[in-house]
């Protein structure tokens, strides 16, 4: 609590968050000098999308107190919807490369997929969680956790039953030569994936900080009873939160369809990665999740680069175990305690 900027800057560097971020930046720069700028580019593109999934996860945990293990399935729904919306347009885009329509149609597919995720979120809250909430709020975290696991199994198998197990993928959204950034060639799809993620994160942040509804969501996450007392429609906020977070996951899935073809369990990898992020950043910390996403992405890129691609889950897992032992509230855990600590 110091007003002196230099002192608070030094304090920040000494904190767990400051140390981790500084270390991550140094590691990223060192690896970039050692192996080339593509490390940085890969980290930024992977981190951007991961932050969308992780943000939704953090939001659902922070506001609704649900440890969501079905979040990957909304990512899967995103890929699926985007596939079925985009494939019919593919022929048209091939014939009209370079036109405005060819540039906008993929966006349409991605946005439709995001909206579909939002609708699924509404259904999930209405059919599953609001019913549990009406019945009993005892042991809420455990019960809702079990429900999400069940939901995940149901959604994966529904996909398999209706759409089959084959890979439903596309070659790419945007045609044309890859762009060259810092002497690295990245496909237009990857660039767009990052741009879209950046736009969504910014929009989301503005929404949470400056709008009345955003403030109400933050209020609910900090004290549900307090929110009711001041006249916030609790059920409405919970519904909106679930819907938004599912929409974010579906949006991420749709933007990454060119990398992750749609199949029943496509959501598992982003789910695990997002959980790594959320545990690293501190449960329920939405802005921390954005920073955490880039750190986990860096970790993943570095592991693949220096150790081998079979290890990309091992290293983050070890890190998570270490964090849970030494700093269970996450590296961005604040002095104000969270819901679970009460």
């Amino acid at each position: 609590m110091s007003n002196n900027p230099t002192v608070s800057a030094v304090e920040w560097f000494k904190s767990a968050a400051g140390l981790t971020i500084s270390l991550a930046v140094i590691a990223a720069l060192a690896a970039t000098i050692d192996r080339g700028p593509y490390i940085l580019v890969n980290t930024v593109v992977t981190g951007g999308m991961l932050s969308l999934v992780a943000m939704g996860l953090a939001l659902v945990f922070g506001v609704m107190n649900i440890p969501m293990f079905a979040h990957g399935e909304y990512f899967m729904i995103g890929t699926l919807v985007a596939y079925y919306v985009f494939t019919p347009m593919n022929g048209y885009i091939d014939q009209h490369t370079g036109t405005l329509a060819a540039a906008l149609l993929p966006l349409v597919a991605i946005i439709v997929a995001g909206l579909a995720g939002g609708v699924m979120g509404v259904l999930t809250e209405k059919l599953v969680f609001s019913n549990l909430r009406k019945r009993s709020r005892e042991n809420w975290v455990m019960n809702s956790f079990l429900l999400t696991v069940g939901l995940s199994v149901v959604l994966i198998n529904l996909h398999q039953l209706i759409f089959g197990t084959e890979f439903k993928g596309i070659v790419g959204y945007w045609r044309g030569a890859p762009l060259s950034i810092m002497d690295v060639f990245i496909s237009r799809d990857r660039c767009m994936a990052f741009v879209l993620a950046a736009v969504m994160v910014t929009a989301f942040w503005l929404f949470m900080t400056y709008t009345r509804t955003g403030r109400a969501i933050r209020a609910v996450s900090q004290d549900e009873t307090g929110a009711l007392i001041v006249g916030i429609d609790l059920n409405g906020i919970l519904l909106l939160t679930m819907s938004m977070s599912c929409a974010l996951a579906a949006f991420a899935g749709a933007s990454l369809l060119f990398m992750y073809p749609s199949y029943p369990s496509v959501g598992l990898e982003p789910l695990y990665m997002a959980w790594f992020v959320v545990i690293l950043a501190g449960l329920g910390n939405v802005l921390g999740a954005v920073v955490g996403a880039f750190i986990v992405a860096l970790l993943k890129v570095l592991t693949v680069e220096y150790i081998g691609s079979g290890w990309e889950f091992v290293v983050p897992s070890v890190l998570i175990i270490i964090i849970l032992i030494f700093k269970p509230s996450g590296i961005f855990g604040s002095e104000v305690r969270g819901i679970l600590d009460k």
């Binding site: 009345r212 933050r218 900090q222 009873t225 009711l228 007392i229 006249g231 609790l234």
Partner: protein, 235 residues
């Protein structure tokens, strides 16, 4: 009658706490509800505020039934509840907390007016406007909770144990601020452990024991009632 509570039964789960509790509050009155620990005072307030659904009975506010309405709808009708736990938004600053109190007020100018009113009443809050609510002391939190409750210009304020855990000096400040509020025309229903002080400042009181209203009357009469003196004042 501003508020009429008619024979409500309420409790948590299978545990019934209130048994046929009835009470009435007129506009502009300063009414207290006193009673020993576990008598159901907080439960009564929570039931009126819509945080607990009554099992039976009826609650009328300004002549309209509000029985079983969720807390946010009750708040919109003009009932502001200041809970014992305060339920502040710990990660928001003092000023953000106060503005959240005016969540139902959409008029920016009116919000600012209310904010100035609260800052006038509690200059301490004005000094600390940028501080996170979660890092404040107990007394300051109490002030903030009361201030937040006033932001929506409520017709009726339900205040639960404002002096609980406060130093004597701060207790005075809290009682003084309730007095100012009352003089500005707000109806107040106060639940308190500090029976002597409460009966001094309020107009009328109800005595709750084991979930039932045992006594009701003018505060001055209650203060001299032999039963009250024996049970609460220890004389």
């Amino acid at each position: 009658m501003l508020l009429e509570v008619k024979k409500i039964d309420a409790g948590y789960g299978f545990l019934q706490i209130l048994r046929k509790v009835s009470l009435e509050i007129d506009k502009g009155e300063y009414v207290c509800l006193v009673g020993p620990n576990g008598a159901g005072k907080s439960t009564t307030l929570k039931t009126i505020a819509g945080l607990i659904k009554p099992m039976a009975g009826e609650i009328l506010f300004e002549g309209h039934p509000i029985t079983g309405l969720p807390g946010n709808k009750v708040a919109r009708r003009g009932i502001s509840y200041v809970s014992e736990e305060m339920n502040l938004f710990v990660n928001m600053t003092v000023q953000e907390n106060l503005y959240m109190g005016a969540y139902t007020v959409r008029d920016k100018k009116l919000q600012k007016e209310r904010l100035d009113f609260v800052y006038n009443l509690f200059p301490r809050l004005a000094e600390r406007r940028g501080q996170l609510a979660g890092t404040m002391s107990g007394g300051e939190r109490k002030m903030l909770a009361i201030g937040r409750g006033m932001m929506s210009s409520p017709t009726l304020m339900l205040v639960d144990e404002p002096s609980f855990g406060l130093a004597p000096q701060l207790t005075e400040t809290v009682f003084d601020s309730l007095e100012i509020l009352r003089n500005s025309g707000v109806t107040i229903m106060l639940v308190e452990q500090n029976v002597t002080k409460t009966l001094e400042v309020t107009d009328r009181g109800y005595v709750l024991e084991n979930g039932r209203i045992q006594l009701a009357g003018k505060s001055s009469d209650l203060a001299s009632d032999p039963h009250v003196r024996k049970v609460f004042l220890g004389v």
